[in-house]
């Protein structure tokens, strides 16, 4: 949390170092508790009720994070993501409903960073939001090492160590961990991983990935059948456990 409030954007953010979050949901009660939850953590909150208002708001102000309900009354959530991605790489977290994996994947592929399923607890949303914010911060400061529990991935030297001991990985294994580490704490879709590790031709072969992950887990997990570092998001993708040096692994 401490690192989060440091000023990583010059210019307009200089006056205040509160991070600014836009919450887009047509339900006033949802906006209200999300606002309270984030404000208690020292964030500044803006609200939008419709997709159109969200797009307008996002053009007027440089938010640090957008939380977007995908069941908006006016426009499709995917359209909002696409429009915002047209000019901004602000992290977007989606509020979705259960059992709609295809929809989640669609929005993640359009450029959203993560999702939580309604109904959700504030801790879960905060964890996702902080992971997304940390990723931006890492990009800005050039911090090369990502920690996930006992695992640390050094993106600069391209080395991975477990409990301080260097692991020997194949190039593809490293590539997979590298992508997950770049999104540490946030979900990465099967398609994204397949495209980045095996190339676009294998985008429809998620089975490759499942076998591959199983092998990789044997190298990095204490109990590969109950993974704590490389978690599965059923029907969507994988998530490298969020970590903060002081608290260790956070629940996913």
């Amino acid at each position: 949390m401490l690192a989060m409030t440091t000023d990583y954007k010059s210019g307009e953010r200089a006056a205040t170092n509160m991070l600014d979050i836009l919450i887009v949901d047509d339900e006033a009660q949802i906006r209200r508790f999300v606002r309270a939850g984030f404000e208690l953590q020292g964030f500044a909150i803006h609200e939008a009720e419709t997709g159109a208002a969200a797009i307008r708001d996002a053009t007027l102000r440089a938010h640090d994070l957008i939380i977007l309900d995908i069941g908006l009354p006016d426009i499709d959530g995917g359209q909002v993501v696409e429009r915002v991605r047209g000019w901004s790489d602000v992290p977007i977290i989606i509020l979705s409903v259960r059992s709609n994996e295809a929809e989640k994947v669609r929005l993640l592929e359009l450029g959203a960073d993560d999702y939580v399923v309604k109904p959700f607890g504030m801790a879960e949303l905060l964890a996702r939001a902080k992971a997304a914010l940390r990723r931006r911060q890492r990009a800005a400061t050039g911090e090369p090492v990502v920690h996930a529990g006992p695992l640390s991935i050094d993106l600069a030297t391209r080395t991975v160590s477990l409990n301080g001991e260097r692991l020997s990985l194949t190039p593809k294994e490293y590539r997979l961990l590298q992508i997950l580490a770049q999104h540490a704490g946030n979900v990465v879709t099967h398609q994204h991983l397949l495209r980045e590790v095996w190339g676009a031709a294998h985008i429809d072969d998620p089975h490759y990935l499942r076998i591959f992950v199983r092998k990789l887990r044997k190298k990095i997990e204490a109990d590969p059948t109950q993974p704590k570092i490389l978690a599965t998001e059923l029907g969507v993708g994988y998530r490298l456990a969020q970590t903060s040096p002081e608290s260790g692994l956070e629940p996913t």
């Binding site: 009660q29 949802i30 508790f33 939850g37 109904p119 504030m122 059923l234």
Partner: protein, 365 residues
């Protein structure tokens, strides 16, 4: 008297209209056949009279189809059977022809009627699904606010520092989560009862499904001590993972509900030849032999469980979801009060898994 007649008329008119429409159709076809016979020299066109029967059966139902069949006989004999333009049927060939016509007409109209019935039923299912979806949305939206607000309060200092308040907030959260589970149960039940569960099957690692189900329920059964053992390198299963996850969630919920808190719940997964079995064992109320027979039925509740609330849908849903994925649900128990073992058996895709594994070993880098 007038009123009574009006009622009778209201009741009769729709049927009459259908029959009249069928008759009109027969008349049109007859006229067309007459033109063909009279000016075109056509002699064999009896199949044409099946046309009004089929149309009547699809559009107006069996009664209209029957009317079309019967009335179709007259112009058929009149126009097509030698000597034409009279109503005598003498030739055995003609009798056979006529008999076949009636037989085919009846069969076709029955089939067509079934088809339109199926269509009506499908429409009713779509409607029911729409109602269930909208109700669940209307219930879940306020629930999401309640649950979310409770979790914000939970972490707020004034609440966290006061045990009584913390207890209340905790209660709100627990109860809201329970409501959410019940709504999910209703949704699943409605999916099962429209008897069209369409699994979206894909290869899945059984360990992923189990871990996902356990993560979802870990908080809920935190009062119990959970023991989880998943065998390494199990073959993949070809299932709808979300559906199997949901079935397992129901089984685990059931184990938690009918066993005393702080007792053990054990989830164990292993592969045997061609199968993957997931076993959930508890130290709870168990089953009698009779209860085991009934437990997979809808609304089944053991008579002993008057203190535990429940809808009796859980194992019924689990059973239906597992069966839709070509699996089997079995229940074992040493008897009442001696715990239960619920076993989910799924066919494994062992050969595919082996093939993928060797392909992967080859392709790696």
């Amino acid at each position: 008297m007038d009123k009574w007649m009006l009622k009778a008329w209201e009741w009769l008119w729709p049927e009459m209209r259908k029959i009249l429409s069928a008759l009109l159709l027969v008349a049109i076809v007859s006229f067309a056949v007459f033109l063909l016979v009279h000016y075109g020299g056509v002699t064999r066109a009896s199949v044409a009279f099946l046309l009004p029967v089929v149309i009547a059966a699809i559009r107006w139902g069996p009664v209209a189809a029957m009317a079309a069949t019967i009335t179709g006989v007259v112009p058929m004999v009149f126009l097509l059977y030698d000597p034409i333009y009279d109503l005598k049927v003498s030739d055995p060939q003609q009798v056979l022809d006529l008999g076949l016509y009636v037989f085919v007409a009846v069969v076709v109209s029955r089939l067509a009627a079934q088809l339109s019935e199926a269509r009506v039923r499908a429409e009713a299912n779509v409607l029911r699904q729409a109602v269930v979806d909208s109700v669940s949305h209307e219930l879940r939206t306020p629930l999401a606010s309640i649950l979310g607000s409770a979790t914000v309060l939970d972490s707020a200092e004034p609440v966290a520092n006061d045990r009584r308040l913390a207890g209340l907030v905790h209660g709100i959260r627990e109860e809201a989560e329970r409501l959410d589970r019940e709504i999910q149960m209703l949704l699943d039940a409605s999916r099962v009862s429209v008897d069209r569960i369409e699994p979206k099957k894909d290869l899945a690692d059984p360990a992923d499904i189990i871990n996902s189900a356990i993560v979802r329920r870990r908080r809920h059964i935190s009062g119990h001590s959970l023991e989880l053992e998943i065998a390494e390198d199990m073959p993949f299963v070809f299932v709808d993972s979300a559906m199997i996850e949901q079935a397992l969630v129901q089984i685990v919920d059931n184990a938690g509900k009918y066993s005393p808190s702080s007792s053990h719940i054990r989830v164990d997964a292993r592969a045997s030849n061609n199968h993957v079995t997931i076993t959930v064992t508890d130290q709870g109320a168990g089953f009698t032999a009779e209860e085991i027979r009934g437990a997979r039925e809808r609304f089944f509740r053991g008579h002993r469980h008057t203190l535990v609330t429940g809808s009796g849908l859980g194992l019924w849903i689990a059973n239906a979801f597992i069966a839709a994925n070509n699996g089997v649900l079995t229940i074992e128990s040493a008897g009442p009060g001696r715990g239960s073992t619920v076993i989910m058996t799924l066919p494994s895709a062992k050969e595919t898994t082996d093939r993928l594994e060797s392909a992967n070993a080859r392709n790696d880098d």
